[in-house]
């Protein structure tokens, strides 16, 4: 996979839990332009182990001089977000992937409703620039815990003016999804990024109101969960790999020196899909990619986020 060598040009504490990082290319050349909603996967070496986390690009897609990401320090971090907060400083070298967009704007939409919760605002930051440039009809609804957690609210006001609607939970402000989604004209698309209950609520509300499935967009990167350790057999490589509790199957496979395909590492894109040749227990599917029928069939698994509870699991790798 093609990677880009970057160094950190600036770090800013935006809220008590969120840091904003500015990346420039190590060789000084410009980055590629990108489309609103794109993310990059940041590769970091945490105590000898490579962590790769996806983060949305939040600067202007036309600004090829620098890339911007924001990282929320996760309470149950396996190390990635804590490393970004505590070990990454101005001058640190890292590697990132080229931008990938799994949350792109529907170019033919008549209107766009963007709904963000907390750090879920990040993919919208770049989309807003595209929407403004294209003179699109949109509204941004941004919910957060309390004003001090409303990262980027001032910046957003400058970009969106009256199209921005903020909801601070601490002040008792609530986004009424039903009211919002029931009054939209035909041809409206809704996009949501935020904590799981919010994403589910938006999807369910829109579905119940009869919104077409392809007008409902969400992005929710999963972190590979911490689970029970287990063992896997890789048929083509003819080796056995131990997957420790705090490591994903994909990470363990990589650590064993086997090259596996991947893209988002968050259970969304489907690139790391691998065939299950044999298993004698339960596959714990955590991804958003496989259909329920595929999950039940047990013939495929997404090693970036999924795990297993079994004595024997043979993968086609």
């Amino acid at each position: 996979m093609s990677m880009i060598d970057i160094k950190v040009a600036a770090v800013e504490q935006v809220t008590p839990l969120v840091k904003h990082f500015t990346f420039v290319k190590r060789d000084g050349s410009p980055f590629p332009a990108f489309s609103g909603g794109s993310h990059v996967v940041v590769s970091m070496n945490v105590g000898g182990r490579v962590h790769r986390n996806p983060y949305s690009l939040m600067g202007s897609p036309a600004d090829t001089g620098a890339y911007h990401i924001s990282v929320r320090k996760q309470e149950q971090s396996r190390g990635g977000s804590v490393f970004m907060h505590e070990n990454v400083e101005v001058g640190t070298s890292l590697q990132i992937t080229y931008p990938v967009n799994l949350f792109s704007l529907a170019k033919k939409a008549h209107k766009h409703i963007l709904i963000a919760g907390g750090i879920g605002i990040t993919p919208f930051m770049s989309q807003l620039i595209d929407l403004n440039r294209l003179n699109a009809n949109f509204e941004l609804h941004y919910a957060f815990r309390s004003p001090e957690h409303g990262a980027f609210a001032d910046q957003l006001k400058a970009i969106c003016s009256s199209k921005l609607h903020c909801y601070a939970d601490s002040k008792g402000e609530r986004l009424d999804l039903l009211a919002l989604l029931s009054k939209q004209p035909l041809g409206t698309h809704v996009y949501v990024c935020g904590p799981n209950p919010m994403v589910v609520a938006v999807i369910e509300t829109a579905r119940n109101l009869g919104w077409p499935e392809n007008h409902i967009h969400s992005e929710q990167f999963l972190s590979p969960g911490i689970g029970e350790p287990f063992k896997i057999q890789l048929a083509k490589s003819n080796i056995e790999v131990h997957v420790p509790a705090e490591m994903s199957m994909l990470e363990a496979i990589e650590a064993a020196g086997v090259e596996a395909d991947y893209l988002c590492r968050g259970g969304v894109c489907g690139r790391c899909e691998v065939n299950v040749l044999e298993s004698d227990g339960a596959l714990l599917h955590h991804d958003h990619f496989l259909t329920d029928a595929e999950k039940a069939a047990g013939k495929k698994i997404m090693p970036c986020v999924s795990r297993a509870r079994c004595d024997r699991l043979v993968l086609d790798l």
């Binding site: 996979m1 093609s2 990938v100």
Partner: protein, 346 residues
């Protein structure tokens, strides 16, 4: 090294031939004795010096002739170019990709100067110089995509990605192997592949789609496709079928080696940055059976491939009329001995 561009025609008098070097670098597609559809996609990485995959977009001795032929075809039928309104970002992506590639890879023929968004493009072989503001279509003499499509060999389709599929929402198509942009524009992946026999049943199209939906910026891919064309004609479109379809009846055992051409498409796909679309580039290479037989290994291989071709494919590729004559002519190169896997000429 500067390329020497030939004066050529791809219609009427058909003044077209390949130099020995062009034959040697021809992208011969058959590595094995039998042909079957597969998702033969590989990374579009830099190939060997002098090969057709050395650069992202190959410019060769036919460049000027092909560009003139494109213009002729478009002048006769404006429907060969189409771009739906939501594809403007993709149009500029295409301009950036092709101008940067050509000026970097062939600096003696093309140059690009940038001062912020003020760009100046120079194409010496076609004698074009254009200053414009990147992103402002009003500063271009025509659609930005049309402007650059005319200056790169091959056909181009811009794909929009939405609803977990790809839509052919813009295109410049003047050298197609019997498919129509005017018919396909706005169609989804499954719709425009529907006529391909056997491939759908094999699941090939679904696998290829899944792969392309994840195509990454900075990691283009390519594959080869092929057919056989009577006369070195680029515009074998359904629109102009009356002009070329009957050429198949003119093939006889005496002229088969000069009339029948192996037509290979070097298809490459690039993820586009601003639009998150994909450009599908279809570059056509033509070589007569006689030219091909200057490397007997290729003639021997083609004989085996054609002899064992599934009848559905012979029909789909429009070879029914002349297929037996072609196989017969090629048989003189086949001594029956085993061949190693590989597409190399010798």
């Amino acid at each position: 090294m500067a390329l020497a561009f030939k004066q050529e025609t791809f219609r009427n008098d058909y003044k077209y031939s390949n130099s020995p070097n062009a034959i040697k670098r021809f992208p011969f597609p058959f590595a094995e004795d039998q042909y079957m559809y597969s998702v033969n996609i590989e990374p579009h990485v830099k190939g060997k010096t002098g090969s057709v995959s050395e650069f992202a977009f190959d410019v060769d001795e036919h460049y000027v002739g092909e560009c003139l032929d494109k213009q002729l075809t478009l002048d006769l039928d404006r429907g060969r170019y189409a771009a739906l309104p939501h594809m403007m970002d993709a149009q500029w992506d295409f301009v950036e990709l092709t101008m940067e590639a050509l000026s970097n890879d062939y600096p003696e023929h093309f140059s690009l100067k940038k001062e912020g968004l003020n760009w100046t493009w120079e194409n010496k072989p076609l004698n074009i110089k254009q200053s414009f503001v990147f992103g402002d279509a009003s500063t271009m003499p025509m659609d930005p995509f049309e402007f650059m499509s005319k200056q790169v060999q091959g056909d181009f389709v811009l794909l929009d990605q939405r609803d977990e599929t790809l839509y052919a929402d813009a295109g410049f198509v003047t050298s197609q192997a019997d498919w129509s942009l005017a018919f396909d524009v706005g169609m989804s992946w499954r719709e425009w592949h529907a006529p391909v026999p056997r491939a759908t049943e094999l699941g090939v199209m679904d696998r290829a789609l899944k792969y392309l939906l994840n195509l990454q910026l900075g990691s283009p891919v390519r594959r080869l496709n092929w057919t056989m064309t009577v006369n070195p004609r680029l515009d074998t479109s359904p629109e102009n079928y009356p002009l070329w379809g009957t050429d198949r009846n003119t093939v006889n055992p005496e002229n088969v080696a000069d009339k029948v051409h192996l037509r290979v498409e070097l298809q490459s796909l690039f993820r586009l940055p601003r639009s998150n679309g994909i450009v599908f580039s279809i570059r056509c290479y033509l070589m007569s059976l006689r030219e091909l037989s200057s490397y007997p290994r290729w003639a021997k291989r083609l004989h085996r491939v054609q002899k064992t071709m599934h009848p559905d494919l012979i029909e789909y590729k429009g070879m029914t009329k002349f297929h037996p004559m072609m196989v017969e002519w090629l048989s003189q190169f086949d001594d029956g001995s085993a061949m190693a896997v590989g597409t190399q000429p010798e």
